[in-house]
């Protein structure tokens, strides 16, 4: 729900006032940007995709029901846009995105921010593993374990039933564990062969 302070902005935004909508979303920009970043795995893409999500939300603002939480509505659009982007990219690009993250040589020169985040070796391997998950699993992991949302919020954003959210999260964590274990074994083997 939106506070009465913002009701004037809502009216203006509904009439097509971009500046009013911009003021309305200002507090959500960083969160949306980060959720999208965690799903896409790349800061440059996150910038474009999150902006695309905001514009999409603005264009469809007439469909927003003020009785529902504005943030949930906005995050749902952001998550869907990010998932669509990742799927599109996978189709277009035969090189998997996971390789992009894991392989440091391929890293963008602008990805200093990412380096900060994945500075620790352990965190880096976990992030890489998250990026190797299927979109459906990655989304619930991002929302629950990285953004700290509860099951109900995740259910609202993804449109999945509560039970499905729980089971999907459990399976996602299981898969994540398997990937990390595999990567650890692989890196150990590589280390030995180098030695």
């Amino acid at each position: 729900m939106i506070s009465s302070v913002n009701s004037g902005l809502i009216k203006k935004a509904r009439r097509g006032d971009g500046r009013a909508f911009s003021m309305l979303i200002e507090n959500h920009e960083r969160f949306v940007f980060n959720v999208v970043y965690r799903i896409t795995g790349n800061a440059e893409d996150a910038r474009d995709v999150s902006q695309e999500a905001f514009i999409k939300a603005f264009k469809n603002f007439e469909s927003y029901d003020e009785r529902a939480a504005f943030s949930t509505w906005l995050y749902r659009i952001a998550v869907n846009t990010a998932i669509d982007f990742v799927r599109r990219r996978k189709k277009e690009n035969s090189i998997s995105f996971e390789d992009y993250i894991v392989d440091e040589n391929n890293q963008n020169s602008d990805s200093g921010i990412e380096e900060k985040v994945i500075s620790k070796e352990g965190v880096k391997s976990i992030i890489s593993a998250v990026n190797m998950l299927d979109d459906e699993f990655k989304t619930v992991i991002v929302l629950r374990d990285m953004e700290g949302m509860d099951y109900k919020e995740i259910s609202d954003i993804t449109g999945l039933p509560l039970g499905t959210v729980k089971s999907r999260l459990s399976r996602a964590r299981g898969k994540l564990r398997q990937i990390i274990e595999k990567n650890d074994i692989k890196s150990e083997t590589e280390g030995r062969s180098r030695a």
Binding site: G18, R47, I55, G122, D145, M146
Partner: protein
């Protein structure tokens, strides 16, 4: 607790969603089972690491860039909204115009003059049908005695048989005409009485309007009114009889009404379809009788026969002319409606002057437009009723398509 159950509960435990009993069982299990303990510790480590990942700051120009994009998008949206609404308005106007046009067509098909040729065709067709059946039914044997040089008594028999046959064919014609759903023949007559400030101006406007719309003034008269007590001149009054195409009857009534203060108005409709069909059928029968009499006359051999046949032929020809005149009169009154206008000139303050100024023209046009709109709406409703079956099929196809597309999207 078994390992499977414990592994399933790890997430719930980490998310603090387990009940006290399950929690106790779970904790006891992982203390004894190394494998489950490792799994629990690993998932806990992962979620904890993920939870501690740093939040990225927004890129420097993110907000300003986004605001610019939103403003541009808003402008585009407003433009496209204007275009959309304009297109919708245009479509609505088009639909109403089509509706009005369809209504006119519908109206003309049922009573208008332009559809007369089609109506005549259907009547003629039924007549031809009758002619064929009549000629087929005409007993050749009845004529044979004459062909063989039979006496006049034979003619009398033949004539009565021919008449009997004619009666049969007449009744069958009338029936078939009705069965074939001949378009209605409707006579419209209107009466309107108005008070005006200038008789000459109002009558001139009526004449001009009538002529511009393909009609004519059939009759007009005017009188000078005097006060009987004071013998002072009060103004002119008079009557105009206007003949106008039936399709323009309502418009003309509407126009005349705006020329002054309306005192009285009435409209009457007379359906003469049955009389018209009857007359047409009688004419057809008489024409056949005329042909047969002409044939008999050619074959007649004595004077008395010739005189008798000629006498009958004259009667039949007279009847034919009478029926033709009647049909022409019917066609005339059906094609052209009659409006009797009574105009009285009055200088009283309460009388609205002849409405020739812009404001009154605007009022007239407004009313006319509203009438057209209503007429259009009526036309659309009639059209929908007429096309209900294809509309229903299209609607079903549309619903099925939407459901199919949605289910496909959901699968994706």
């Amino acid at each position: 607790m078994k390992c499977d159950e414990a592994l399933n509960i790890i997430d719930m435990y980490l998310d603090e969603c387990t009940d006290a009993y399950n929690e106790k069982e779970f904790l006891e299990h992982i203390q004894t089972c190394e494998s489950c303990r490792n799994a629990y510790n690993e998932i806990k480590r992962i979620t904890s690491e993920l939870n501690n990942t740093e939040y990225l700051p927004l890129p420097d120009d993110f907000h300003s860039e986004l605001t610019d994009k939103l403003i541009k998008s808003g402008k585009k949206r407003n433009k496209s909204r204007i275009v959309k609404y304009s297109a919708l308005a245009a479509c609505a106007v088009l639909v109403f115009m089509t509706g009005a046009y369809m209504k006119d067509l519908y109206y003309m098909a049922s009573s208008g003059s332009s559809a007369q040729s089609a109506d005549s065709a259907s009547v003629t067709e039924s007549m031809n049908g009758m002619s064929r059946s009549a000629s087929g039914e005409m007993p050749q044997a009845s004529y044979e005695p004459y062909a063989d040089g039979a006496s006049l008594e034979g003619y009398g028999t033949a004539e009565s048989e021919a008449q009997a046959s004619s009666e049969n064919s007449y009744s069958s014609t009338a029936l078939s005409a009705k069965e074939q759903n001949i378009s209605r023949k409707i006579i419209k007559t209107g009466y309107i009485s108005i008070n005006v400030s200038s008789f000459d101006e109002a009558s001139q406007l009526i004449k001009t309007y009538t002529e511009q719309n393909g009609g004519y003034v059939e009759q007009s008269n005017q009188f000078a009114d005097y006060d009987s007590q004071t013998n002072t001149y009060k103004g002119k009054s008079g009557n105009i009889t206007v003949r106008i195409e039936s399709a323009k009857f309502s418009d003309t009534m509407g126009y005349i009404e705006t020329l002054g203060t309306l005192i009285n108005q009435s409209e009457s409709v007379n359906d003469i379809t049955n009389s018209y069909v009857d007359t047409q059928s009688r004419l057809e029968v008489k024409e056949q009788e005329k042909e047969r009499l002409s044939e008999l006359l050619n074959n007649a051999e004595n004077i008395s026969d010739i005189i008798t046949i000629e006498g009958r032929l004259t009667e039949v020809i007279s009847d034919i002319e009478s029926y033709e005149a009647q049909l022409n009169a019917y066609d005339d009154v059906v094609d052209y409606s009659t409006i009797n206008v009574n105009i009285t000139e009055k200088d009283d303050d309460g009388i609205i002057p002849a409405k020739t100024d812009f404001a009154n023209k605007a009022v007239y046009n407004f009313k006319d437009s509203a009438r057209t709109l209503f007429s259009g709406f009526e036309g659309i409703v009639l059209l929908i009723i007429r096309l209900w079956a294809p509309i229903a099929v299209v609607a079903v196809i549309a619903v099925v398509s939407v459901v199919f597309i949605k289910s496909k999207k959901n699968k994706k």
